[in-house]
Assembly symmetry: C2
Homo-oligomer: 148 residues x 2
């Protein structure tokens, strides 16, 4: 009997442990690309949504605009993205992937997918789908509470 048996009754604790493992794994996969989880997510979303604004990107990634500035600076320094002026609104900046950025986003995404597939090889598709439903339900619950 493990000492932390009682904690395993809590979904929050199980999620924490699982996330810690998968994130550590993700970091190992992304390291060769010079990316961490947040820059990778940002680059991928920009590559798939060219012209997205920083505020929209922050909302998509569920993080604060202010915490996105440094990661985007780093991506821009590596010429993976560009911040282009928006004619209609001179406050806003449109985030555009460079060709190198698009290519890296695609390559890294496939590497992550392949690695996840290996990590989850023993998990049935049904269980994975169930986990996706649970995650969605948890996020929906947050929205519900925020509305209260």
């Amino acid at each position: 009997m493990q000492a932390d048996a009682v904690l395993r009754d809590l979904a929050g604790y199980r999620l924490k442990r699982a996330f810690a493992v998968i994130q550590a794994d993700l970091q190992r996969v992304l390291a060769p690309f010079g990316l961490r989880m947040i820059p990778f997510s940002a680059l991928l979303v920009i590559a798939r949504n060219p012209g997205i604004g920083q505020g929209q990107l922050a909302a998509a990634l569920a993080m604060e605009r202010s915490n996105l500035v440094a990661p985007l600076d780093a991506l821009a320094r590596r010429d993976l993205i560009r911040r282009e002026p928006v004619p209609d609104d001179r406050r806003a900046l449109a985030l555009m992937p460079t060709p190198a950025g698009t290519a890296l986003a695609d390559t890294a995404f496939e590497a992550v997918r392949a690695h996840e597939a290996r990590l989850l090889a023993d998990v049935s598709p049904e269980d994975l789908a169930a986990m996706a439903r649970v995650s969605a339900a948890i996020e929906a619950a947050e929205t519900r509470e925020a509305a209260e």
Copy 2:
């Protein structure tokens, strides 16, 4: 279509979002008890495993011994736990819950469970069981990789 649609193909990203929501929730539930996630976990494991050592506790919580010192100091300051000398090994300290610590652990645990039940009210028991299996599989995969 959401801007982060592509990220939702990644189990790691879904887990990150779900964990963030459930952790924020957990913090709200634990705040009235003056506890955060780590002190709560530590107190609960000590209450259920009186006499456990700090190294064992760190292993049970999957964290470094050094990062446990401050939280345990805080619990001891509130007289929720005591660090007692171990006769056989004068290096070691046995972590013992006080009556107040045991009571708080039980109360807080029930509060967390009740709140999780509410949060997961719309999720079927089958899906929850599936999620537990997926979490276990992910942790097992870590053990497998560590052995390589």
